[in-house]
Symmetry: C3
Subunit: 139 residues, 3 copies
C-alpha cells in the first residue's frame, strides 16, 4: 500500500473563486504512478474553502462571488463577530457552506474528475493569503 | 486490502431531489463482503450534486426544491454566465452549496447510514440527465 | 495497515453550533499511535451536521445561528413538511448545506487541523439530542 501526504502551499490569491487544479496536481507528482486510489484534499483554514466546479468560464467564477456576497453580506448588521473586519464572519459562513475536504477517486494516475470539473480555491477574505492544503492519497 | 472502484451510471432523473441509495448499493455488490471499510461516493458533474438526507417523506424532496430555487433563483439579473440557460449558473451554485463527495463508513457489509439517511442525487438542471458517480471503497 | 472504527455518541447539545473537537478526539485514543493516515468523521443524522470552523470565539457560534436561521427560517410558509415541527424541514436543509462527513489527514498522532480549525456539531433541532458520529480512521 502507498500513502502520500503533502502540505501544499498555494500561491496567494485575492478574494474570489480560483481554479487550482494544476497547482494541486503539480504538488503531487506521485499521483501519476497510482493505478487505483483515492485523494483527499483538505484546506487548513476557516475563511477559505474548496469546491469542485466548472473549469472553463471566467464568468462562472465572477457569478460565484456575486451570489455568495449577496447571500452572506459583508458587514451585515446582525453579525457580532466583527473585530477582524466586515469580511471575516461572512468568510466563516461561506466556508461552512462549501467544502473543507474533497475526496476524489484516483484512476490511472489522475484524479477521476469529470470533464468539466476543476478544483477551486474559494478565498473569502479581502486581501491575498497563501493558503495551506493538506493532500493525502492512499492507493 | 481490498479496493473497489466502480463507475456508476445513474438513471436519468428530472430536476429535483431524488433518493438513489438502492441504485448505488446495487452497483456495488462487493460491499456485502466487507466487514470494516469506507466508501467514497463522488459525482463527476458540476450541475448536479449529492447529499445524505431524510429518506422517508416525498414532501422533504419537494421542500428542498422550493428552498433552493428561492435561494438561488433561475435567471437572476445579476448572473452573467447565462449562455447555457437560466438554470445553469444556479445549478453550479447549488452544487457548490451541497456535496460532490460523500465518505461513508462501511460496517458489516453495508454503508453505516443512520436510520433516516438516504443517498440523494440533486439534479439541478432542467431536463433529465444520466449522471456518472464514481464509487471507491477501501477495506 | 490499521483500521479504527468507532461509534461516538456525543453529549446532548441544544440547538446551535458547538465545538466537539476534544470529545471526538477522546473517543479515538488510538489516533495517537498513527503516524500518517486519514480520519473520516461521519454524522448519522439528517437534522444535525458537521463543519470545521473557527475554534476560538463564542460570537462566531452565535453568528452562525443567526445567519442560518435567517437564511432558512423556521416555519416558512412555503414548507409542506411540517408535521414534525417548524424547525424540522429547516434542519434538513441546513444539514444539506453543511457537511455530513469530514475527511481529515492524520499526521504524527493528531488530526492535521489548521491552527484555527475545530470540529463543530451543528444541532439544527430545538431540544437537545444525543447524536451519533461514526469515526473511521485508516493508516
Amino acid at each position: 500500500m502507498i500513502w502520500i501526504q503533502e502540505d501544499v502551499r498555494l500561491r496567494a490569491y485575492p478574494r474570489g473563486f480560483h481554479l487550482v487544479t494544476r497547482e494541486v496536481e503539480e504538488a503531487l507528482p506521485e499521483l501519476s504512478s497510482i493505478g487505483v486510489g483515492v485523494a483527499h484534499v483538505f484546506i487548513r483554514h476557516t475563511s477559505a474553502s474548496l469546491a469542485l466546479n466548472e473549469n472553463a468560464s471566467p464568468d462562472v467564477r465572477r457569478d460565484f462571488e456575486t451570489w455568495f456576497s449577496r447571500a452572506v453580506p459583508d458587514g451585515a448588521p446582525y453579525f457580532t463577530h466583527t473585530l477582524e473586519g466586515d469580511d471575516d464572519m461572512p468568510a466563516h459562513i461561506k466556508a461552512a457552506l462549501t467544502a473543507v475536504s474533497l475526496s476524489i477517486p484516483v484512476t490511472a494516475g489522475r484524479p477521476a474528475l469529470g470533464q468539466w470539473q476543476g478544483i477551486y480555491l474559494f478565498e473569502h477574505r479581502d486581501g491575498a493569503h497563501r493558503r495551506h492544503v493538506a493532500a493525502h492519497v492512499s492507493a
